[in-house]
Amino acid sequence: MNAVLTQVRDNRSNKIEPVDPMTPAPCRVMRRRRENHDTFTLEIAHENGLVGFEFQPGQFNMLYVHGVGEVPISISGDFRKSDRIIHTTRDVGTVTRGLARLRAGDTLGIRGPFGVGWPMRSAEGRNVVIVAGGIGLAPLRPVIYQILAARSHFGQVALLYGARTPEDLLFRREFNAWRRKGIVVHETVDRADGSWRGHVGVVTAMIQKVEFELVGAIGMICGPEVMIRFTVNGLRGRNMAGNDIYVSMERNMKCAVGFCGHCQYGPEFICRDGPVFPYDRIERLFAIREL
């Protein structure tokens, strides 16, 4: 469901009220978890009680830090836990640093969810290869949760995950549980010291470790744009079609509803038409450096 956060229940009156998509809903941080040196996860609940917050894996919310500003952050949580909105991000900018300073009990505003997510319905009955780089695993974690919730509805599934160093790998505590439930997980890092017992190399090199058939499979890629380009080449080398490969794009999103044009990407607005696109729809845009 392409839901917008329009339903909010006032605990005192038990009245369900609509919220304008341009108006941040008052929310409160319930829990904050430090994932690594620069990445953290916030568990957020609506101030007045949230009525079945629904989202598609790959959608994002606009998070508003009072007095600082607003920033688009993908949802990284489990769609079944509708009482909490989960966001994982890095503290690399003014607003995200403001988010990083929030603690349990602090308030913030949320608009959303926005955008087009991953093609979960198209993926049903097919093999799935998920390729994530760095923080790019956060918008893909809801995909994994949805697959795990209906594992028999999907074919073979592989997660290929690359990060800069072992310390940068996100959600490692969940990998074994994912493996036990039938997802092949290959993790790799670009650089490591001698204590690292895992794989070293770029994530694109992991594609050849996928042992199942990729022709007809669905590919989902999220990470730095350069990594996306190399990954697409790798998947095409396994004869995947461009319209079976989906990528999550990032530009400077402001309004989140396709009005302001800040995130215009050729004829597309990332916030409204994306952030997830079938690769063949935007392939030609990758070659235009001015974009």
Binding site: V92, A163, D190, G194, G201, V202, G223, M227
Partner: protein, 153 residues
């Protein structure tokens, strides 16, 4: 029991060779196994072998003074390992250490060099395959150098 020609034919590196060529290559081939932690070769030693990994993973490491061995890359089943046997000074540039129990086909480097001299068709195909592997690894190295994860995603 499968012959060495069959085993070579099943390895992804050798897919471009025909049986007659594989028979010639197989004359310089053998099978080896390494326990986890064993060295396939060490930096500065004579580079006289070419490996086709059949099972397991191998970590390539370089020794950094006052730091110790630093892993550079991990290679796995289906991949080729080592090209220092092809060109002078025929010395390994890295350590190659079994990351897990490893089974591999090992080809004699000196035998291969002589074979390439005598049979330019095999030499061409072999170098073509090696070049593809080198190109992949060069691209991967460039991607590593870009340090893409430092940029916000």
């Amino acid at each position: 029991m499968r012959s060495m020609v069959q085993k070579l034919a099943e390895h992804p590196f050798m897919t471009e060779f025909v049986d007659e060529q594989l028979e010639l290559i197989a004359r310089g081939a053998g099978e080896v196994e390494f326990e986890e932690g064993a060295f396939l070769f060490r930096e500065h030693e004579d580079a006289d072998r070419f490996y086709l990994i059949v099972e397991g993973s191998v970590a390539l490491k370089i020794h950094v003074p006052q730091t110790g061995p630093v892993p550079i890359q991990t290679l796995s089943a289906g991949q080729a390992l080592g090209w220092s046997w092809m060109m002078p000074p025929y010395k390994w540039h890295f350590d190659a250490r079994a990351f897990s129990p490893v089974k591999a086909i090992v080809l004699d480097g000196e035998y291969l060099r002589r074979l390439f001299q005598d049979n330019s068709e095999i030499g061409y195909r072999f170098l073509r395959r090696i070049t593809m592997v080198l190109a992949e690894r060069l691209q991967a190295t460039r991607l590593q150098l870009l340090d893409v994860y430092q940029v916000a995603t």
